[in-house]
Amino acid sequence: MIDYPVFEMPVLGHRLIFAIDAILHVLISHGAAVGGSVVLVLSQWWAIKNNDQKMYDLTYKILFVLFIAATAIGALTGIGIWIHANIIDPPAIGSLLRVFFWKWFVEWIVFNVELIFLLLWFLTWKQLGWEGRHKNIKFGIVYAIASWLTMVIITAILGFMLTPGNWLTSIFPTQPDYVASLFNPSWIPSLMFRTFFAIGFAAAVSMYWTWWFTKDDIQLRERAEKFFSKITLLSIPPTVLFGLWYYSQIPQEAKALMFVAGLTTKYVGHKEMLIFALLGAFALIMLAVFLFYVKPRGVPFVLASLMMVSYVFLVAEFERIREFVRKPYIVYGYMYAHGIRELDVAHLNNVGVLKYAQFVPVQYRTVTEENKVKVGEYLFKLECRVCHSVNGINAITKKVKGLDETAIYYRIGTLNSPATPFMPPFVGTDEERKALAAYLASLVQDKNTQVAKDNKGGQ
């Protein structure tokens, strides 16, 4: 994104604000829309079949929560993923749109169906009442199908970013193959994996809310909890199977990054920590669901809450790993995380990136002895800022602490080496590399002198 403006996101950094939005969206789109629609239609159907009006009313209460979450948070954070991508990595999202425009457009049409039927299902539930139950459930069924179809399309795009397959028919001019990019290798397995996961997760969410809504009707609690926990239990085997298939489709280099992704390089020596944490969360969920199934009365609220926390942890960790293993790319093998395409590297190494840096003031587009620290700061913003903040999260100051300018200069030359394969290479001329080194060195030197001064002041 060397030719775009760069915005400042103090403290949080770019990656974190994106992650907050994306994880909220995944939790709600899976737990409420895709999974929730299926689970609540099933429970409405079950209530109708057994003539169980209390279960019917309980379903509405859970649907109320789903409606608020899906429309106020789920839908908006979904648009939010775009908006965040627009400002964090404009060339990447711009490229994806060029390739996937029509798929996204179809998705938008399906969204219309989804939203209209959700509004109908929810807003007419009370009006139609128990008498109108057969009519009302039909709205729910259409909503569930439409929700799932939106996931079909979005997983194609996510799959593409990680496993694009052979999607370019020509590189000069770049010409995508629209069909191949849709049928990328991880599409179907990731879709099925997410579908079953979502159903199990949504049933767990329903268990949680049932606990809340049935404080004064223990018999209803028993029926409902048993029903929902059965859904989660049934969803686990297919989730695991499709998960394994999905895993087998991921590129070898990406798999190699999995532990760094889950743990950060600092703890990557302690692989067991990640495994314990993931297995622990999984075991907790199994325990809670199983207890809900065999002895719904006996499940303490703490356990129900821990089950939710574990689910959130698993989702967050899964999405974190999925995002991270794609590094250093944003579109695997085509575009790096900093928005520079592999194809551009040779040219930009010859002439420099500053030549094209439209939003760097003109006086900083050529490196001189006087301005090189300032130029280095701009280069940092253009190429490193997507992943590193200065002092906050993944702070660059921590990464170069204790290094002098020469050492930093060397390190910058080999960012995309086996030691740190998740970083894109530094792109630019030797002068630009020196300027970046000068800036990074100035950050830590300033700090060192600052510390020295503080110490003196204290004594």
């Binding site: 403006p5 908006l76 965040h84 425009f101 290094l403």
Partner: protein
């Protein structure tokens, strides 16, 4: 920096995305479709947003009037208006997605640059919206629970309405900024943009239009209720308020709109005229005057004929449609020269990239050089496994030189284990080395032997 605002000069323009438009080569056929989709979907979006803004404000006002006068009918009107709010906030957001998609694909670099310049404030359209949605749901669904704490309830509604009203300035700044690339400078930022006269006038025009459109909606809603024989008293209030809210803002907008038009950069206005888009302004003004005339004539008549309402609504629709085209015409007129410059510079860039790419490809890569040269096997392996990012044989870099390490006299086995599990405490003056799990066992052993033989 001298402003080029009024001239077609674009000092800061990114390159276009180097991928074709998604038309499958059928630009002639599909580009017009994009234009039509953009205008139509944006119009639907705006109508929903108008109703959302107007109805959330009017629900609060009527709730308050009802509370002050102790009149249940106003309370009823206020409650009735929450349903269009729920529907239009959801549908409005959804129908904003289609224009967002199309703008992002047709005017990618313009729209994204403006979004970035206006960030992080631009994110308010997501997070501010989430909070507004939640507050408006709280307002709607706590109606009966808070019947006896009206002050609290009205406050909640007012917060929701204010939050919704706080979104358009952010939108308008980005929209206006992306179609005026002549105003871009490296330090352009949100607060400069939102206070620009062109943005402020357009914003005023937009707010007035929103209340006018919502006025028409209330009128239609009232007539619909009246004809169905439901909520007759509430319907009467809706009809009266609807007429007033349509007529007053519309009259004001005739002036504000004219002023807003002349805030655009001169070169855009000139192109707008020479492209012939002015005809759509004439149509808009004419048909809105007809609608105004019809409603002013029936202004004091509570039993205004249904047909009059429908026909005036149709005229308003014509105005909205041709305002939509006017808006798009201005966008085209402003962006035409900028797009031409962008295409040219992108083409030059791609040609240069292709040349250097092909040249680099014909040269051997660094690893090949390492393979081919007469480096020792150990030296090849440290290059291959990325050790040279931090170590060199002789010189201290990020880590100590391999010579220095060899002096410590480790066994080869020890070195292998240090590669996989470094012990930073051995080198307190350095930052810690990351574990190099990627190195194959045999290669690690060879590297280790090479290191121990250095001393």
């Amino acid at each position: 920096m001298a402003s080029n605002f009024n001239n077609p000069v674009f000092p800061s323009l990114p390159n276009d995305i180097p991928l074709p438009l998604p038309t499958g080569g059928m630009d002639v056929l599909l580009v017009p479709v994009f234009h039509i989709l953009l205008v139509v979907s944006f119009l639907v979006h705006i109508v929903f947003i108008n109703v959302l803004l107007g109805s959330s404000v009017l629900s609060v006002i009527n709730n308050w009037i009802g509370h002050l006068r102790g009149d249940k009918n106003y309370d009823r009107v206020a409650y009735l208006l929450t349903t269009p709010v729920t529907i239009s906030e959801n549908m409005g957001a959804l129908w904003g997605v289609a224009p967002l998609l199309i703008v992002s694909v047709m005017y990618t670099a313009f729209f994204y640059s403006a979004s970035v310049m206006n960030s992080p404030q631009w994110l308010h359209i997501i997070w501010g919206n989430v909070v507004a949605f939640l507050t408006s749901y709280l307002y709607k669904f706590s109606w009966h629970k808070l019947e006896n704490s009206k002050a609290l309830h009205i406050t909640i509604g007012a917060i929701a309405a204010i939050l919704f009203l706080s979104l358009p300035p952010v939108f308008m700044s980005t929209v206006q900024l992306y179609i005026t690339p002549s105003s871009w400078a490296p330090n352009t930022h949100f607060w400069d943009v939102v206070t620009r006269p062109d943005v402020i006038f357009r914003l005023a025009h937009f707010y007035l239009g929103a209340f006018a459109v919502n006025g028409m909606f209330m009128l239609l809603y009232g007539v619909y209720k009246r004809d169905k024989g439901q909520d007759l008293e509430a319907a009467k209030i809706l009809i009266r308020q609807g007429k007033a809210w349509f007529v007053v803002p519309t009259v004001l907008n005739l002036f504000v709109g004219t002023l807003a038009f002349f805030q655009f950069p001169n070169y855009g206005i000139e192109a707008f005229y020479s492209n012939g888009f002015v005809i759509f302004i004439i149509i808009s003004v004419f048909s809105v005057l007809v609608a105004l005339g019809m409603l002013i004539k029936e202004f004091l008549n509570d039993s205004i004929p249904t047909k009059v309402v429908y026909i005036s609504a149709l005229f308003l629709l014509v105005t909205l449609g041709s305002m939509g085209i006017t808006r798009h015409g201005m966008r085209i007129s402003l962006l035409e020269p900028a797009i031409a410059q962008m295409q040219k510079q992108t083409q030059e860039y791609i040609t240069a990239v292709q040349k250097d790419y092909e040249e680099a490809k014909s040269k051997p890569s660094v690893v090949d050089v390492a393979e081919a040269s007469h480096l020792s096997e150990g030296e090849k392996l440290i290059a291959k496994n990325g050790c040279t990012a931090c170590h060199s044989k002789e010189q201290k870099l990020v880590g100590p030189s391999f010579k220095e390490i060899s002096i410590r006299g480790y066994t080869a086995e020890k070195i292998v284990s240090l590669i996989y599990n470094p012990e930073p405490s051995n080198w307190p003056e350095y930052s810690p080395m990351p574990p190099m799990a990627n190195v194959p066992k045999e290669e690690a052993m060879k590297i280790a032997q090479w290191i121990s033989n250095l001393k």
